[in-house]
């Protein structure tokens, strides 16, 4: 059962071969058995999920069926969920219950899906290893001594370990794609503005984008159609019509021109390079033209990102001040102490580090040198991508420079940690859509292939991903969680 795809489960529910209750119960049991090893969930909503499953079953019996009726999903704990705790991986919001649903949550609810729980994540989505969570590290299902990547580590690990068929994530600099790469699942970050950010706790507003984890490109396509679309509550969401991504990506594959940026291969780990080269060969011999391109400014991406993201975060996280909701320190003399102590005790080190960097970067006298310059680099990177897309349909490369690293390995070396995002951040800076799909292994740990498209070219990305998955079985590999294989 756990190996079934979303599409298969959808069919079984609609054909009444299985009830939503049975399905939900099955995954809840699996979470109970396996998650203590992984710590992928912060909250599991057992009672509510089963109650909802029963309700949906009775609706189905009456013939009221929605496209994804009765299928469970895990929500990253960054999405506000009415009545369910939304912690954002922080002590600051340890007991916060949102009075409203995020648009993504609302849309999936409308499609008939059942929230089974909220997944663990780096605190306020700041991290690439899921080690900054107040609720403990998430372990990589392929090797429990390794990190699952971050920040959406819990969402990625739970799908990899088959605790759930699909989950949501958010990606500011690689927070969907990098963990997807490290856990061997499919993770898409759509074009900036494709999915509403309303109700998604902001890290860096101009970079944040919600997306999906699944095991196959086709499942990804189905879910993406459901969460996409204009939202009057998010001024930065796009009014562009949402295509039927499933239909688009399952159409007969048409020849594509694929670009490979030389810069992505410079000094690349030899095993990663080897695995990537195999993927290139598959594309070459299956209807794709490969073209070497240059994105020479993309190497500036991490630096620009490390200014823009902290700058925005320093402002976005100001609301967590202990005044209206969230953690409030005890024994304070005055309002200044209330702020200082609540924020010092409520935030973890990585969050504080970024707030400090961002505050500095926006300060009078430094704004031009840091923030403005970073924004200029951003424009340059965007233009560079635009030029590349005049020549090629899609751009590919490894998602991350290496496979999953050991827990604790990079925790005290922020620069090394930030470089985990070297291949992913520039797409966020340019607002482009990109996916990571499994492309092989190194040391029995998965490696991801990143496919980057032009704005709103999700259909093309998914089409190539599906094409690749029809030709390979990397996405069918699964970690041995219970001695099952």
């Amino acid at each position: 059962m756990e190996d079934k795809t979303l599409i298969e489960l959808k069919k079984e529910i609609q054909n009444k071969e299985i009830s939503s209750y049975e399905l939900t119960k099955f995954f809840l049991n699996r979470i109970k058995k396996i998650d203590p090893k992984l710590n992928a969930f912060i909250t599991v909503t057992e009672n509510d999920s089963l109650k909802k499953a029963k309700k949906i079953d009775s609706e189905i019996a009456k013939g009221n069926i929605n496209p994804l009726s009765g299928i469970p999903i895990a929500q990253k704990d960054i999405f506000c969920t009415k009545g369910i705790k939304t912690t954002c991986g922080s002590k600051m919001l340890e007991n916060f219950i949102s009075p409203y649903d995020a648009t993504v949550v609302e849309k999936l609810d409308k499609a008939g899906m059942i929230i089974i729980g909220k997944t663990n994540m780096d605190e306020f989505a700041m991290g690439s290893s899921n080690e900054t969570s107040y609720f403990g590290d998430v372990k990589n299902p392929w090797n429990l001594n390794c990190v699952p990547g971050g920040s959406s580590g819990g969402s990625a690990a739970s799908v990899a370990a088959r605790l759930i068929p699909c989950s949501t994530g958010t990606d500011t600099g690689g927070s969907i794609r990098q963990p997807a790469s490290l856990t061997g699942v499919c993770g898409i970050k759509p074009t900036y503005g494709r999915v509403s950010r309303y109700g998604m706790i902001a890290f860096a507003s101009s970079l944040d984008q919600a997306g999906i984890f699944t095991r196959t490109a086709k499942d990804c396509a189905i879910l993406l159609s459901h969460i996409s679309g204009y939202d009057a509550k998010d001024s930065t969401s796009s009014k562009k019509e949402v295509p039927d991504y499933y239909k688009d990506c399952t159409k007969k594959f048409e020849k594509m021109k694929i670009g490979i940026p030389e810069e992505f291969l410079d000094g690349l780990d030899s095993k990663v390079a080897e695995v990537f080269a195999e993927s290139i060969n598959i594309f070459k011999s299956n209807g794709c033209e490969i073209k070497k391109i240059s994105l020479k400014n993309s190497k500036l991406g991490v630096s620009a990102y490390q200014v823009v993201a902290p700058a925005e975060c320093s402002s976005n996280l100001s609301r967590f001040d202990g005044v209206r909701y969230g953690f409030r320190a005890n024994d304070v003399k005055d309002i200044d102490e209330l702020y200082k102590k609540s924020r010092s005790q409520g935030f973890g080190d990585e969050v504080k580090r970024r707030i400090l960097i961002g505050t500095y970067a926006l300060s009078t006298g430094y704004y031009d040198a840091y923030y403005l310059k970073a924004q200029k680099i951003r424009t340059i990177i965007s233009k560079e991508f635009q030029n590349a897309f005049k020549e090629v349909d899609l751009i590919i490369g490894p998602t991350a420079p290496d496979c999953a690293f050991k827990l604790g390995e990079k925790l005290n070396d922020p620069i090394a940690m930030y470089l985990s995002d070297i291949f992913t951040v520039s797409t966020n800076l340019a607002g482009l859509p990109a996916i990571s799909i499994p492309m092989g292994f190194k040391n029995k740990l998965p490696l991801g292939l990143q496919i980057i498209g032009n704005h709103f070219d999700e259909s093309k990305i998914l089409s190539l991903s599906n094409h690749y998955q029809n030709l390979t079985d990397w996405h069918m590999q699964k970690p041995d969680m219970l001695g099952e294989t």
Binding site: T86, M200, S318
Partner: protein, 478 residues
């Protein structure tokens, strides 16, 4: 020796139905925190959505002051911590405001002075901290959080308190004409910060300024500026220098006090708000708003002078308050009265009552219909001007109708010639000696006869007719 240089930053709450970035109501006076939605509370995950009405109102203001309207203005975040600022930043405009480079003209000593408006930008208001509700604890009311404001920043073109107040009153009048703000100063819909510095006469170099925050009445603006000019003058006279700082005006002690120095000032770390797109304003929108502009104070002033043949002085008074000028025109509409007489009545009588009791036009106890009939009674000779004043006082104080007062108190004027004739005859008969003196050249006695006739009639005789008849009779006697 010192010349004062003053610039004002005026905060005007816009009268939109809902807040600038949320759909919560902007009504004043609701129970605390009942008009603050998730967005106003700054809950995690919420996003602002711009209220287009607020944008249109800002454009209207820009057009009225002949300013440049920016086609793509930018919202920026002004970051600082304050308990009644829920997000830890205020959404405002910084580098590219919606309105820039405008001006208005004010009259100073019968000369026109142009006051330049540097910019006017859109922003959200903060909530309110309440310190006297609980012992040892402060409370926060976020009903006001997110109310749309335009902040109107002038160049330092104002030279003294009088000019500053005049400018402030002009802007106040303008925003009410434009119907973009209720301008209610007690409720904080219209408040200002004053930047004041002194420079040596004949020097072009500006001195160090102090900013006085949040002054919410015309009178306080005048007092605060005058106090500050004196304070800075004394400092400079003693050879010391003024410190750049923010000060507060205390109306009870009539003084300004230091709030924070430049060193203690916040670094607001402005940057473009990534949650909001640039405010895209098409020229078509600007044109369509231009076409639907209401009559503005200056246009109305010209029209009044031409149409009603009023003096410049009278017009200025009537026109400054949009509601008052409307009241005036409604009185005229109701009657065939002379516009000048009507204006005089409003300015000398009605306004003296209104100003004494600080009553706004919409709360006048005397309706325009009431005033119109009172003035008609004078015009028809039914009552004298003097009687009218007595009646008006009763109308104002008790809200009675003039016809009721006249009937009840029996103060109708006697205009019947036959009746007055009798009275005149009596007076002439009873003061025969005086008549002789008058006839022998003591012209001054005429007034005495008039007074006697009025006395006989208990003040009710129409003085015009009394005069006329007396003259005739006494001439006949000659």
């Amino acid at each position: 020796m010192w010349e004062s240089v003053i610039g004002l930053e005026i905060h005007v709450q816009l009268k939109t139905q809902s807040k600038i970035f949320s759909s919560a109501s902007t009504n004043f006076g609701a129970e605390q925190n009942t008009q603050a939605c998730a967005i106003d509370l700054g809950l995690p995950g919420v996003l602002p959505v711009l209220n287009e009405e607020a944008v249109k109102m800002a454009i209207k203001f820009g057009i009225a002051v002949g300013a440049n309207i920016e086609n793509n203005s930018i919202f920026a975040r002004k970051n600082y911590f304050y308990p009644d600022l829920p997000k830890g930043y205020q959404i405002s405009q910084y580098e590219i405001p919606i309105v820039s480079n405008g001006s208005i003209n004010i009259d100073i000593n019968k000369k026109v002075k142009k006051i330049r408006i540097t910019r006017a930008h859109l922003e959200e208001d903060a909530g309110k901290s309440i310190h006297d509700l609980y012992e040892n604890e402060s409370a926060i009311d976020l009903n006001r959080a997110g109310t749309p404001l335009i902040e109107i920043v002038s160049e330092p073109d104002l030279s003294n308190a009088e000019e500053a107040v005049k400018y402030l009153k002009h802007i106040h009048s303008l925003v009410r004409y434009l119907d973009i703000s209720d301008g209610n100063m007690q409720e904080g819909s219209f408040r200002c910060d004053a930047n004041i510095s002194l420079k040596k006469s004949n020097s072009s170099e500006l001195g160090i300024r102090a900013e006085i925050k949040n002054i919410n009445s015309f009178k306080f603006v005048e007092q605060a500026i005058n106090y500050e000019i004196q304070r800075q003058g004394e400092i400079l006279d003693s050879g010391k220098s003024v410190i750049q700082e923010t000060r507060l005006f205390d109306p009870i002690r009539n003084e300004t006090r230091s709030m924070r120095s430049k060193e203690e000032a916040n670094d607001y770390r402005y940057f473009p708000d990534p949650d909001l797109l640039p405010v895209s304003i098409s020229n078509n929108l600007i044109e369509s708003i231009k076409l639907n502009m209401p009559e503005l104070p200056n246009d109305k002033k010209e029209r009044f002078i031409k149409q009603y043949k009023l003096t410049d002085y009278d017009t200025s008074i009537l026109v400054l308050d949009k509601d008052l000028s409307a009241y005036y025109e409604k009185v005229l509409e109701k009657t065939d009265l002379n516009p000048k007489t009507t204006a005089n009545w409003i300015i000398t009588e009605l306004l003296s009552y209104a100003n004494k009791s600080n009553t706004e036009v919409k709360n006048y106890p005397v309706s325009f219909e009431g005033l119109a009939s009172l003035l008609t009674y004078i015009h028809e000779g039914l009552i004298s001007n003097k009687q009218a004043k007595i009646i008006f006082e009763k109308m104002w104080n008790n809200g009675e109708k003039p016809q009721d007062i006249i009937e009840k108190e029996d103060i109708k004027q006697i205009s019947d010639t036959m009746e007055i004739n009798k009275l005149v005859d009596n007076v002439i008969k009873n003061h025969y000696k005086s008549v002789e003196e008058y006839l022998s050249g003591k012209d001054k006695l005429f007034g005495f006869f008039v007074g006697e006739v009025m006395k006989e009639s208990k003040g009710k005789a129409n003085p015009k007719i009394v005069n006329q008849l007396l003259k005739e009779k006494l001439r006949n006697d000659k």
